[in-house]
């Protein structure tokens, strides 16, 4: 991306709360930021290693619950909760990686769905830990040296920072030797193996990083909405993430960012544009149309068009 455009975008993002005055719009941007981290994390698995994980909401939810429970039950601050969430989710990612990556393709998809399903049922039924369907209300907002992140602007900067870090992590990873191993595995696993890439180890690593990032997003979500319930494990969250990555352009770094922004803003825009009866129908139709005309995603289409 050309440097001028990048600088402009960065300036716009850094000053956003000043020119985007409606708190509702800032709210939408915060949610877009959280979903950007999620989309980036899913992209690592889906876009770069070519493994479709449809249980990603599980890592998101594990992160959210870990952070919320630590804050509510042990009164640990958010700054410990966040890395703890990443750790817990990363651990789950490791477990899934080790178990599921014995199989590939469609089977891997189904294991991930099943894993998410089991975790979801545990969160609903294990009342003593998660309070079940009643959820965990009152998750505190982060505080740093007396300054509370309760206000939208403050939280926006927090999420912006986290998203930027997530992007950088993915960028470094993808352009490293490990990243090249990912791509090699995606293109031709047998060949990659023959040149010394250990598929299981590499994929597990991708799963761990991917899950940890999703856990971070979960923690940010929990302390922003201040209410965590088993609905975080809803399949629709995973579906939304997949839409963001694939429609944005999987296997690119900017794709998930564009996708996250677009598909966070879209439902809210539909809320404004039409009566409630038509919103979801329009969403489905728009999705089909988008994929039909831009099957590789938005970012690759734009790059191709610019060439």
């Amino acid at each position: 991306m050309r440097a001028g455009g990048a600088v402009l975008a960065a300036l716009a993002l850094l000053t956003l709360p000043f020119w985007l005055t409606s708190p509702y719009y800032v709210h939408v941007t915060i949610m877009a930021g959280i979903f950007t981290i999620l989309a980036l994390s899913l992209n690592l698995l889906l876009g770069y290693t070519g493994q479709l994980s449809l249980g990603h909401a599980a890592f998101f939810g594990i992160g959210a619950y870990t952070s919320a429970l630590l804050a509510l039950k042990l009164e640990w601050p958010f700054w410990i909760g966040l890395p703890a969430a990443a750790l817990a989710a990363g651990l789950a990612g490791w477990a899934i990686g080790r178990l599921a990556l014995k199989v590939r393709g469609a089977y891997f998809v189904l294991v991930t769905i099943s894993f998410a399903g089991v975790i979801s049922l545990v969160s609903v039924n294990w009342m003593e830990l998660t309070n079940g369907p009643l959820g965990l209300p009152g998750v505190p907002a982060p505080e740093l040296a007396g300054l509370s992140f309760r206000t939208k602007s403050a939280y926006y900067y927090l999420v912006l920072l986290a998203a930027a870090v997530a992007y950088l992590v993915c960028h470094r990873l993808v352009h490293s030797r490990l990243g090249r191993a990912f791509l090699a595995l995606r293109e031709n696993e047998a060949l990659a193996e023959s040149v010394g890439v250990d598929p299981v180890r590499t994929l597990v690593l991708a799963a761990v990083v991917s899950a940890a990032l999703a856990g971070v997003a979960g923690s940010l979500y929990a302390h922003y909405t201040r209410f965590v319930s088993p609905e975080v494990f809803l399949f629709s969250y995973t579906v939304t993430m997949v839409i963001m990555v694939v429609a944005g352009g999987k296997g690119t770094l900017l794709g998930p960012v564009v996708g996250a922004l677009l598909f966070t803003v879209l439902p809210e825009a539909l809320r404004e544009a039409m009566a409630w009866q038509w919103q979801m129908l329009a969403y489905g139709v728009l999705l089909v149309v988008l994929v039909y005309f831009l099957p590789r995603g938005i970012v690759p289409a734009v790059s191709a068009w610019r060439r």
Partner: protein, 390 residues
């Protein structure tokens, strides 16, 4: 007059007519509504919406509130707490509503509650049953629906007449179902009734045969059922198939006995239902005339009869907010909040007046709704057999 003059006159009249609609000189009062209009409980959310629309039309027909028309801004929370919070934010910030009614499910209401405190906007809760809604110390919450504990208390007087000695529970695996098991279980134990099995079913489950088989073997004589009307239909039908013979009581008020009769047929015979509105005998409600008018208006609009047992909530919620705005004299959130404490009128369900509930200094408002028990006898809804003529 010249042709030019006539045209000018007409133009002026047209502009005038456009600018001064129907005698309402000022901007309308907007009330936000957050309900699940899509997803698994779309039917219930839509019934509440329909009731709200009737309330709005009646209010406007009588001249509005403080001379201003009432307008409902309706948002779909898609049965997702995250969407409920987003909808609340949009309603408050973009549409600038001074009050909201919502959000049906307890977890949706709980998710929206921080937004109410953030912006200082009151919300009238019309359906949620979790105790935590009014116990969390949120002074912007005013609930007109009964928490499960209140419901259980409402049934307490009939427990002996029912003759239940050992009770099993089958509930939907949500805050509502679990809360119900807890509340009714506690109440029954206090009355010396034994509690047997407590089985759960997923919200979207359609096959409950396993749970029914299990319940069959407990030796209980009564089954408390808490879930939405579709699942109740399935449980009743499957119970009939497995020849489960015991008294069935549904709780929560969403059981729509009329729909059960239609869809479960003979399987629903003899079952008891806790409801908060009796559209089959509206004259028996605290304000019989209002209740009858509501039933008639609902029918006139072609809405399904079975939706009445939930639709009234929408009406009472909007009526409560309108009443508060009338008392406050203006549509300003803080004034409405203060006014809600002064509200005392009779809605379709009965008297609505808020009492303090929750931690001191930050109490929420909780009204004491009327609770009724009906029974399905000979394919019709009737007063329960254990009640002598009222």
């Amino acid at each position: 007059m010249s042709k030019r003059r006539w045209s000018l006159l007409f133009a002026a009249l047209a502009v005038g007519a456009f600018l001064a609609p129907a005698g309402f000189a000022q901007a309308p009062i907007k009330i936000g509504v957050i309900e699940p209009l899509s997803g698994p409980v779309a039917a219930s959310g839509n019934y509440v919406r329909m009731g709200a629309e009737i309330a709005r039309d009646w209010i406007n027909a009588k001249g509005g509130v403080n001379g201003r028309k009432v307008e409902l801004v309706i948002e779909d929370n898609k049965s997702d707490p995250k969407e409920a919070a987003s909808a609340a934010e949009k309603l408050i910030v973009r549409d600038k509503v001074p009050a909201i009614m919502g959000a049906w499910g307890s977890s949706m209401t709980l998710a929206a509650m921080p937004k109410l405190e953030e912006y200082g906007v009151p919300m009238v809760v019309e359906t949620s049953s979790a105790a935590s809604v009014t116990k969390r110390g949120n002074p912007w919450i005013f609930r007109i629906s009964p928490p499960s504990e209140m419901e259980a208390l409402g049934l307490e007087q009939y427990v002996d007449k029912l003759g239940a000695k050992k009770v099993d529970f089958l509930a939907v695996n949500t805050d509502w179902g679990r809360g119900s098991i807890q509340a009714f279980g506690d109440m029954l134990k206090k009355k010396g009734v034994e509690v047997g099995a407590a089985e759960m079913m997923e919200q979207s489950a359609t096959d409950m045969n396993a749970q029914i088989t299990k319940i069959k073997s407990t030796g209980g004589d009564t089954l408390f059922l808490t879930t939405a009307v579709e699942q109740i239909t399935l449980v009743l039908k499957q119970s009939q198939e497995q020849r489960l013979t015991r008294k069935v009581i549904t709780t929560g008020g969403s059981s729509s006995p009329t729909q059960l009769i239609k869809q479960a047929g003979a399987a629903a015979e003899g079952s008891y239902h806790i409801v908060f509105f009796m559209p089959w005998f509206p004259e028996a409600m605290p304000d019989g005339k209002l209740a009858k008018a509501f039933v008639d208006e609902w029918a006139k609009r072609g809405f399904p009869f079975e939706g009445l047992t939930e639709g009234f909530r929408g009406h009472d919620g909007i009526a409560t907010i309108a009443e508060a705005i009338k008392i406050a004299g203006k549509d300003e959130p803080k004034a409405i909040q203060a006014a809600l404490w002064k509200v005392s009128f009779t809605g379709v369900n009965g008297p609505i007046k808020f009492e303090k509930d929750g931690p001191a200094g930050k109490e929420s408002g909780q009204s004491k709704p009327s609770i009724f028990v009906v029974q399905i006898k000979d394919g019709k809804v009737a007063l329960p057999d254990f009640l002598a003529k009222k």
